[in-house]
Amino acid sequence: MTESFTIAPVIDVAQVTQDSRPSEREVVFDIHDLTVSYGRVTAISGVDLQIHRNVITAIIGPSGCGKSTFIRCLNRMNDLVPGARIEGQILYQGSDLYASGVDPVEIRRRIGMVFQKANPFPKSIYDNVAWGPRVLGMRKELDERVEKALRSAALWDEVKDRLKKNALSLSGGQQQRLCIARAIAVEPEVLLLDEPASALDPIATSAIEDLMHQLKREYTLVIVTHNMQQAARVADLTAFFSLEVDETRRSGVLVEYDATSKIFTNPSDKRTEDYVTGRFG
């Protein structure tokens, strides 16, 4: 067993979110001692973390430290990876996400995900957004639903005249916003974003960041990014993961979790400071 020195931070969420009504301080994910391994490789170990409602939580850290692994545990996408083993506990709104009898498919419907590389279906723009609701039995007022999702993803004005066009004809940034629209069309409660802007140019990136501020009102957002400026711009809370190496093995650990401004201006851990000041990876 590796020594993990995770710091369980006591954060006053009310202080970091400007318009916090009481309900918004709710804990959505309560994660205890999460350890994930692929076969014999441990990706992350001993992660303790709480994620709050209507707050943007950013996960930062060097590549390979287990950011994707962590976020994919939150909607049970790792179940699809053969050989992935998850230990510890994740409570989602108070109940164990990995309890037997929990249907991972239902979990994924309630907790949406956007991936690093935009992955629209080779269908029309309309069908990309409409397909999920259609399959999941939300067929009523489909046109309105599609429009609403596209508006929420700040894409409506750009595509309203060509909804029947193939989604693959859109630019990279538009495709990624379409993927966000597709994810929110099925009305998830949480949106997980794994480096959603890493393949985009600065203009498209800033469109996505603006969008996140909009979405925060309705959703709980968790965003993985390797771009520290991005975390600083969008996130209320930031968790810094790092690779912990000892003689025999290496695995990702949570080093520090705090208000974004604190992480970037006055971190408590030396490793965080090295990372955010660019002295490391």
């Binding site: 909607n75 996408m77 699809l80 053969p82 498919v105 239902e106 979990i107 994924r108 419907r109 309630r110 949406g112 995900m113 991936f115 590389k117 992955n119 629209p120 279906f121 080779p122 269908k123 397909w131 999920g132 399959v135 999941l136 193939n166 693959l168 993927c179 597709r182 994810a183 099925v186």
Partner: protein, 282 residues
């Protein structure tokens, strides 16, 4: 320096060798096509396609009944092999755990390598002994030949579908089978059709299994699949054994028709595949 030269010469030699080999393959095909055409083209006429076989000893006649029979046999065989082949491929690529996928894959590979005469005897023992020869039995034998071809072709296109599309659908909370039907299959139809067309081309010319299951001489068009159906390969086989040179010519002509069909089918399959590749790559 000399080593560099040697490599260059070697490279050149291999290139020439490969080109020659390709030319030999093309030449072999050309020889076959030309010799079949030379011997058979004279018998090809409108009547040849529209008239049924003449009674033995009588002049004239065509291959209409054999064409209809072959079409029926292949259609029926496709109806059996296509769903099973596609479902097998879907199971293998999308659902099967490794310990099941490996043995099933081996079975399919063995099936693909089975001599068709063995399949013929097997179906003969299963469906013909104790009953009669029938279109069903013939189609079943052809389906056994087509099944591994369709399954393999389908597997190949399914593996071309990027994993990120599967993830996108599953992350919406869509079940796996729904993902397969709604996202994966639509992007693979082209490839599946291509594989099917090639399997049809292959099955249309198979003789051995039909000799056991559906070999009959008839001078009328028959469509009752519970009885043996006249068909092109068996017609070619029987005519070529007759002493009458007119029948020989008809056998060559029928072979020409079969070859033309295979050629057209292969070209169509290639076009289909190119189209579906483009669609996936975009």
């Amino acid at each position: 320096m000399s080593r560099y030269r040697r490599r260059r010469v070697m490279n050149r030699a291999m290139e020439v060798l490969a080109t020659v080999a390709a030319l030999v393959a093309v030449a072999a095909l050309a020889v076959v096509v030309i010799s079949v055409a030379r011997r058979g083209a004279g018998a090809v006429s409108w009547d040849f396609f529209t008239k049924p076989q003449a009674l033995f000893g009588q002049p004239g006649g065509g291959i209409a009944n054999a064409l209809v029979g072959t079409a029926l046999l292949v259609l029926l065989a496709t109806a059996m092999a296509l769903p099973v082949g596609v479902l097998t491929a879907i199971y293998l690529t999308e659902f099967a755990p490794r310990r099941l996928a490996v043995p099933i894959q081996v079975v399919i590979d063995v099936l693909a390598g089975l001599p068709t005469i063995v399949i013929g005897i097997f179906v003969y023992a299963l469906l013909v002994i104790g009953h009669t020869q029938s279109g069903y039995a013939g189609a079943f034998a052809l389906a056994v030949i087509m099944l591994p071809l369709i399954a393999r072709a389908t597997q190949e296109v399914l593996l071309l579908v990027p994993g990120t599309l599967r993830e996108a659908s599953l992350a919406l909370g869509v079940r796996r089978w729904r993902t397969v039907v709604g996202v994966i299959l639509p992007s693979s139809v082209g490839g599946i059709l291509t594989g099917t067309v090639l399997a049809v081309a292959r099955a249309a010319g198979e003789t051995a299994p039909l000799l056991f299951t559906s070999s009959i001489f008839a001078n009328t068009v028959q469509t009752d699949v519970t009885k043996a159906l006249p068909n092109i390969p068996v017609l070619i086989f029987t005519y070529s054994e007759q002493p009458d040179p007119a029948l020989h010519q008809q056998a060559w002509a029928a072979a020409l028709v079969l070859m033309a069909f295979v050629l057209v089918a292969s070209l169509a399959a290639k076009a289909l595949l190119a189209r579906s590749r483009r669609k996936l790559a975009r």
